[in-house]
Amino acid sequence: MKRYVGLVVILAAFGFLIATSLNSVAMKSLPVHELRAADSSPHSYVGQRLRVVGFVGKTPVKSIEKTTDSGIVKAHYFTVVDKEQTLNVTFHDALPDTFRAGGPVQVDGVYSAPGVIEADHVLTKCPSKYEAESKAQSQKYNSK
């Protein structure tokens, strides 16, 4: 009997640890158009920490140099679009290697004002190479 009490206590502790951790750090993840659609509703996401997914917009990344105590730091401004909705992103760290206009991207950060996110993480998915190209197309080109 004593053993089962111990077991229940341990299991409860695990459950508690996992549940509280998950609640405090699991982040809502949503596409740009859903985020923007909620702006004017009472359920606006302004002020929340979110993950927003979409595609890097065609407007070129604007990088502005700022002088800080540690040296010159760049702030990057770019857009993430999805279903004709746009989100403006501010980001201070290094953009990933695979960051390209039109590429899929996810942005983590605080949604500071409608349409603006202060990102702390920008992640791109590796686009697999030449996705559009099938082997048949390649053969056509080869035989030219």
């Binding site: 699991a26 540690s70 080109y141």
Partner: protein
């Protein structure tokens, strides 16, 4: 022609596997007299599967080496210009080829089991030989899934229209780690099937006595070690080449490899209780099965596309097969355990929580809890999506929050467990044995106060690390002293004999020391990491990270002709490193090091039409430059390079104690090797003990035996 031969060999291998299973089942149904012939045939089938899959794998590599782009898989992962070593490793660069590698390794393990079993009469009385035919058949049963996939679903030898050049391997994979890490990890992963096969065989033959424990321990240690080393190697690959300053990201695929390793670790501990006290037999069977099921589940995660991961295969659509297989394996393995529940009943019960058994049990729960926490965090987004359509993400913060306290508890147990006596111990007795380790840990604590910053988790880890290490050193000292007083050996001889006589125990301690180093590395690099923002530097300008000053001396490119063939361009930032503030640096001050973080820009390899290429910028990768020493790593990444203005953006990291993570690997290997080394002395002592049981044994031999036994117990 050649691709068809490869495919044919796979079909033959599948047939042989089916035949091998059938004939093994038949062998145990037929009368005794015909059994041997059937098992002999099953043995041949097991070896045939291995040779056929090996030949098929060789064929695929041959097709890569001869640039046969009519084979779709070769076309997709190789090109004429691809260096030869990457043509070979392209075999496992994609879905079907990596499944073939999996099949190959599984077939290899099967053959190994059979060959080991064949050393005695196959299927005979000796335990290994008795269980080997069944274990080999179980391995073949698992291989049916993988062989079936490469035969019918995702065929590596599938051909299409002939083309003159392939599309090339992803340049990010063109790295020497690509030759080492995936095969190592797979070998460990696939190896998780092997203890399961021995366990299933043991359940079917009702043989789970002491001999089985020895056997399954050995066959678990091998994949456990390889999987662990493979995981650390993956971290090293990410750290060295990806330029984001870390080695572990809690990516679903990383998690997938960690889960079976955690349950295997739990198994290696609780099997000791079975060996010593005949307890927990059913629990051990559950752990072996879980380890195997989690290894398959990990493969499912990687290849089904249910979770998004940087490692996922783009073209994955084979998740369903894994899910079905997983269901069948779950039912069969747990069904077997329930079927044998009476035979698996415990011989003894727990006497006290405060005992070695109690510590092992707690260790098991924490390891299993960790595996579950990782599993839950990994699949939670997919579950939420399926249940209420909400899309959430669970990242590193969750895992760190859960795993840090669990890890610290585990580290503490690593120290306390070995100090506890079997059966029962009193708090006073425990305190007496743990006195010096506790004193050492408390004495070390103030030292950590002088660290650059306070980090509770990391300092706790350091103190616990000191506690564990002190406990282990004390054990070594006590053992050596006891040997010295019982024999006339000098300290050095006594120490080595101690290691040799009690290989399992002291090998385990060496692994524990590795764990301490691993935790020190984790604690240092996560608790005291310094990271700058990317700083834009003009030539001659400096930046600071920790105590270091970094000066940018200009952008450099390798001279023409020295550029690697797969690269279009390589831009490096010439950085000099000084260990002093910038105002102390004079024009003649010699830098302590020069580092070249760089950006590789890859050629668009292969023969690809301009239309497909339009709009695709060439792939590039940031390659960090690292200056390592035992205290910390200075890690520089070149973020942007502006050639016209000769400006560079540099991000610097100072990662303390990372080196110890790689060093811990040596302890794992050494400790496991010590623990696994065949115990010829033990067998000799056993043989002598048997001889001594005869009435003619002299009194002298008896006392010698008693002394021998006392020494073994130290």
């Amino acid at each position: 022609m050649i691709p068809s031969i490869g495919q044919l060999m796979l079909w033959l291998a599948l047939s042989c596997a089916v035949y091998g299973i059938a004939i093994t089942i038949a062998a145990y149904r037929l009368p005794e007299a015909r059994r041997q012939a059937c098992l002999s045939s099953a043995f041949n089938a097991t070896l045939a599967v291995w040779w056929l899959v090996a030949a098929a794998s060789g064929t695929l590599i041959y097709l890569f080496l001869t640039d046969d782009f009519s084979v779709n898989y070769v076309w997709a992962h190789s090109s004429l210009a691809q260096p030869i070593q990457f043509k070979v490793s392209a075999m496992w660069a994609g879905q079907s080829g990596s499944l073939l590698l999996w099949t190959l390794m599984l077939a290899g393990y099967g053959a190994l089991i059979a060959v080991v079993g064949r050393r005695h009469e196959y299927g005979g009385d000796k335990l290994e030989a008795q269980l080997a035919p069944t274990a080999a058949a179980v391995v073949q049963g698992i291989n049916l899934l993988f062989l079936g996939l490469v035969c019918f679903v995702t065929k590596p030898f599938e051909t299409g229209p002939p083309v003159t050049d392939g599309s090339g391997m992803n340049p990010l994979l063109q790295n020497y780690w690509m030759q080492i890490h995936p095969p190592t990890l797979y070998l460990g992963y696939v190896g998780c099937s092997v203890p399961f096969a021995w366990a299933a065989a043991a359940l079917l033959h009702k043989q789970f006595g002491k001999d089985w424990v020895t056997l399954v321990r050995r066959w678990t240690l091998i994949p456990w070690l390889i999987l662990g080393v493979g995981i650390i190697m993956g971290g090293a690959w990410a750290y060295e080449t990806l330029g984001w300053g870390g080695y572990w990201a809690w990516d679903p695929v990383e998690n997938a490899s960690l889960m079976p390793w955690l349950t295997a670790t739990a198994f290696l501990h609780s099997i000791m209780i079975q060996a010593r006290r005949g307890m927990l037999k059913n629990w051990n069977m559950v752990l072996v099965s879980l380890t195997f099921l989690l290894s398959v589940f990990g493969t499912f995660l990687t290849r089904s596309g249910v979770v998004s991961s940087v490692h996922s295969f783009a073209e994955s659509n084979i998740g369903g097969y894994f899910l079905v297989f997983l269901g069948v394996a779950l039912v069969l393995s747990f069904g077997l355990i329930i079927w044998r529940r009476d035979e698996l009943a415990t011989e003894f019960t727990f006497e006290s929580v405060l005992s070695r058994e109690g510590a092992f049990m707690l260790n098991n729960w924490i390891l299993l809890g960790s595996a579950f926490a990782v599993l839950w965090g990994t699949i939670y987004p997919a579950l939420r999506e399926a249940i209420d359509g909400q899309s959430v993400s669970v990242g590193a913060p969750y895992f760190n929050k859960v795993m840090v306290p669990l890890g610290l508890m585990l580290l503490g147990l690593t120290g306390i467990g070995p100090l506890m006596a079997w059966r029962r111990t009193t708090p006073a007795a425990l305190l007496r044995t743990a006195k010096w380790p506790i004193v050492a840990a408390i004495a070390a604590a103030p030292l950590f106060y002088f660290l650059s910053a306070w980090h509770t988790g990391a300092v706790t880890a350091f103190c616990l690390g000191v506690f564990v290490a002190a406990g282990i050193i004390l054990e070594f000292v006590k053992g050596t002293r006891a040997r010295m007083s019982m024999t006339d050996e000098g300290p050095r001889t006594a120490f080595f004999n101690l290691l040799l006589r009690n290989r399992r125990r002291y090998g385990g301690y060496v692994v524990h020391l590795g764990i301490v180093l691993l935790f020190a590395g984790f604690a240092g690099s996560s608790g005291f990491k310094i990271e700058t923002e990317p700083i834009t530097l003009q030539k001659g300008e400096t930046m600071r990270v920790g105590e270091y000053t970094l000066r940018f001396e200009g952008l450099v490119e390798p001279p023409p002709g020295q550029l690697a063939p797969e690269k279009q361009q390589e831009i490096a930032a010439h950085m000099t490193v000084f260990l002093m503030p910038p105002d102390k640096i004079k024009s003649d001050t010699k830098p302590m090091a020069t580092l070249y973080p760089h950006i590789d820009i890859f050629k668009l390899a292969g023969n690809v039409s301009p239309e497909a290429r339009a709009g695709q910028a060439p792939q590039s990768a940031r390659r960090p430059a690292i200056m390592s020493n035992l205290a910390n790593d200075l890690y520089l990444a070149l973020i942007d390079a502006n050639n016209e203005e000769n400006k560079a953006s540099i991000k610097a990291y100072l990662n303390p104690l990372v080196m110890w993570i790689w060093i811990s690997m040596l302890f794992f290997v050494a400790g496991t090797a010590i623990a696994m080394w065949p115990d010829s002395r033990a067998t000799r002592a056993e043989a002598r003990a048997k001889a001594d049981e005869s009435p003619r044994a002299s009194a002298g031999a008896e006392t010698k035996l008693a002394r021998e036994k006392a020494l073994e117990k130290i």
